[in-house]
């Protein structure tokens, strides 16, 4: 530091305390004003309904008066709905199925997305734009439409796969029966989500400065080593982001199994947790039990997401040390 700066310091340090007290009123209000609409919408369409759902979960509909056909009225029931949800064997079974589904979907989606992003980023990759568009295209297909199309591709009587097998005299497959159905559902999800995740990772890769690769090649790294030791660690934040998206999407899977339900007996109305919430709320007209289950799923998703972030941050910190 120069002598001049040192001489200026005492003047600044001696600034009167009154100026300090005036500072809060000079803090810019504009950012808060910009955030206000989003905050209001968040409050109105997220926090308030969430609060209402929690409120509903503590109430239940009971019949008042005797006779076989009383009218159900809503009363306070405390933790009864939660007790029913947590002791329901169906919940454990649907979580088990969700785990199987997640173990297939998430690794293949992310692994595939990472692999394709790395391949597209490799120096001698060709037809990059065309491949990118083609792999991303399935994401543009709405989930229900995709499920219906895949449903017909899986259904034994309309499946082209079975037509081919039959023409070779091989036994036909029912890709919607109980041994295949989770894999088939995972297939639909992977098909739709892989492109989206690939784009996120590819964009992150593109943002890495080229000098790092140049210096790595000078040091004698092969392309494979560059990918493994440089690219992947550098896009770690994007990987965390896509993992989080995939985890949340898996926990909330609903539209694919519901669309395929009429086509097969293997998918029950409580196949995955969110389906049970829908069934209780709307088909069975038991909105309080559904609210309790929805709250349980939300808490579970929150715990899983925070757990994932905690785990990843722990790892990142470890690397830095």
């Amino acid at each position: 530091m120069s002598v001049l700066t040192d001489e200026k310091l005492p003047a600044a340090a001696v600034a009167p305390p009154r100026a300090e007290r005036r500072r809060p009123s000079r803090r810019p209000r504009a950012p808060y004003a910009f955030v206000l609409p989003a905050a209001l919408l968040f409050l109105a369409f997220y926090l308030i309904p969430l609060g209402y759902a929690i409120y509903l979960s503590f109430r239940g509909a009971k019949v008042s008066g005797g006779g076989g056909y009383g009218t159900r009225e809503e009363t306070w029931v405390g933790l009864e709905n939660y007790a029913n949800v947590l002791t329901d064997p169906e919940l454990l079974a649907s979580l088990g199925r969700l785990l199987q589904y997640g173990l297939i979907t998430v690794p293949i989606t992310l692994g595939g997305a990472l692999l394709i992003a790395l391949l597209l980023d490799a120096p001698r990759a060709r037809f990059v734009t065309a491949s990118r568009t083609a792999i991303f295209a399935p994401y543009a297909v709405p989930g229900i439409i995709a499920s219906i199309m895949w449903g017909f591709l899986f259904l034994p009587s309309t499946s082209p796969l079975n037509a081919i097998l039959k023409s070779f005299g091989l036994p036909t497959l029912n890709l919607l029966d109980s041994s295949w159905v989770i894999g088939s559902l995972a297939n639909i999800a992977i098909w739709g989500a892989l492109g989206f995740n690939m784009i996120i990772l590819y964009t992150a890769l593109r943002a890495v400065p080229m000098e790092i690769y140049d210096s790595a090649r000078v040091d004698g790294c092969s392309e494979w080593q560059i990918a493994w030791r440089i690219k992947i660690p550098l896009i770690a934040p994007s990987l965390v982001l896509t993992s989080l998206f995939s985890l949340i999407a898996t926990l909330q899977v609903y539209s694919e199994p519901t669309t395929l339900r009429p086509l097969t007996s293997a998918i029950t109305s409580t196949f995955f947790p969110l389906m049970k919430v829908y069934r209780d709320a709307f088909t069975n007209d038991q909105i309080n039990a559904a609210a309790a289950m929805a709250v349980v799923i939300t808490v579970g998703t929150l715990v899983a997401s925070l757990g994932l972030l905690r785990l990843v941050q722990g790892k990142t910190n470890g690397d830095e040390r």
Binding site: Y32, L36, A39, L40, L43, A44, I48, A61, K62, V63, S64, G66, G67, G68, Y69, G70, T71, R72, E80, N84, F152, L155, P156, S157, T158, D177, S178, P262, L263, S265, A266, I267, T268, S269, T270, R279, F282, T283, N284, D285, Q286
Partner: protein, 436 residues
């Protein structure tokens, strides 16, 4: 920061308070509105030709105008109606399949209209009126009915020299025989996603799913004759003698169209409605009906579906609404309008007379059968009195799940029924009903 939060919070609360103030109107305190003013009624139904029926009524008098709205079929409307009425809005009238009426009652949706419809009671078979008289009140007006019968491909039966089964033993033998004729052909399917179908067959065998005495419910989904029916179909499915396709699905329609499905025990709506025309139009005219196979000679049959219409508790004109329903459901003109527009098999006795006098349209599955009307009238005259519970929805959705599981994993149908029974009883008790 604190100031900003308080401002945001108070604005939000204020906004919310204002929206809740602008709620719906309260229902009119005077149900018998003046007979001078014009009355507009809305009717929620999924019947495609319902507006034609309403138009006939609108043309026959000028005080009341009925407008039809289609908000979705079956369970979709069930959900929407419950939520709409709870919000204080909703239509004046709604179509309600008989098995959902008690649920609508306990949800506070169906209004007791006994004071308006007492004269209509005499126009119906007691078994049908029993479906709308719940406890001490009347909660709907029957419009059509669907007794269970047996529909089969008359042309293919003749081609292969098959005899129409009259008992369930004959049915099982025929199912085995059909499998030997062609490996792709099946005598029938057990619609795995239709609980009403199974409940109907169970009732025919002597085990009604629900019954009520002095305010106490008795649930017999499993046990007794229900197990006999469960074991019967369990055997047929496990030996690959029948399919498990649900009707109105692609699989089912494909098989119907290609002659791989020969017959079906089902409600009469399959024969009187458009299912075959929509699913396999080339087979229209090749079907014929017969009475359902029985266990004992004089077994009565149950219903599978069929609908009444209810007046909602939020209707401002229950008297006019009930009058429209009485016209449509029990008077000759109304039932004629229903039959001519939709081809529904009517619930009332005057309606049955009208139905017998109108030739079947060429879009109905069995229109070439000469004794169609005689057989249908015979079937309709041989029906049981059945009861549905306030949580029939839960019984049905549990049944579908459990049977689906039993089919895919090969476990017994009896166990599936026991599990359904346990869930239904537990739900009735937790709602506060008395169960035996």
């Amino acid at each position: 920061m604190k100031k900003m939060l308080t401002t945001v919070g108070s604005v939000a609360v204020l906004a919310l308070a204002l929206t809740s103030c602008a709620g719906g109107d309260a229902p009119s305190d005077n149900p018998d509105s003046s007979s001078q003013e014009h009355v507009d009624l809305t009717w929620w139904t999924w019947w495609g030709t319902a507006q034609d029926m309403a138009d006939k009524y609108n043309a026959s008098q000028d005080r009341v105008t009925v407008t039809v709205e289609n908000v979705g079929g079956g369970t979709e409307q069930f959900t929407k109606l419950n939520q709409a009425v709870r919000a204080g809005e909703g239509p004046d009238l709604a179509l309600a399949e008989y098995q959902w009426l008690p649920s609508y009652l306990t949800a506070g949706v169906a209004k007791d209209i006994s004071e308006y419809v007492d004269e209509a009671k005499g126009e119906y078979n007691p078994a049908i009126w029993n479906l709308v008289q719940l406890g001490d009140g009347v909660y709907g007006v029957p419009l059509d009915q669907a007794p269970m019968l047996y529909i089969y491909r008359a042309d293919l039966f003749e081609q292969y020299g098959l005899e129409v089964p009259t008992t369930w033993d004959e049915f099982a033998e025929l199912a085995a025989q059909v499998r030997t004729i062609d490996p792709e052909m099946y005598l029938s399917t057990m619609p795995a996603q239709d609980a009403g179908w199974f409940a109907g067959l169970s009732a025919q065998a002597g085990a009604q799913w629900f019954s009520q005495k002095d305010g106490v419910w008795d649930v017999t989904i499993a046990g007794g004759a229900g197990d006999k029916v469960a074991d019967y179909w369990d055997g047929l499915v496990k030996d690959d003698l029948v399919l498990t396709d649900q009707y109105q699905t692609t699989e089912f329609n494909t098989r119907m169209a290609s002659g791989q499905l020969l017959s079906l025990p089902t409600g009469s709506w399959f024969a009187t409605g458009m299912s075959v025309f929509n699913g396999a139009p080339d087979t229209v005219g090749t079907w014929a009906i017969a009475p359902l196979p029985t266990w004992e000679k004089d077994d009565k049959v149950s219903f599978q579906g069929g609908s009444a219409a209810l007046v909602t508790t939020v209707s401002k004109h229950p008297k006019e609404a009930a009058e429209f329903l009485t016209w449509l459901g029990s008077q000759e003109d109304g039932q004629r309008a229903m039959i001519e527009a939709g081809g529904n098999f009517p619930a009332s006795n005057p309606g049955l007379d009208v139905y017998a006098s109108i030739p079947l349209s060429e879009q109905r599955a069995a229109y070439k059968q000469e004794d169609f009307h005689e057989i249908l009238t015979e079937v309709a005259g041989n029906t049981l009195e059945i009861t549905w519970a306030p949580n029939t929805t839960i019984a049905f959705s549990n049944y579908v799940d459990e049977i689906g599981r039993a089919i895919t994993s090969g476990t017994s149908f009896r166990d599936a029924l026991s599990k359904t029974q346990a869930a239904v009883v537990a739900d009735l008790e937790s709602s506060g009903f008395d169960v035996k």
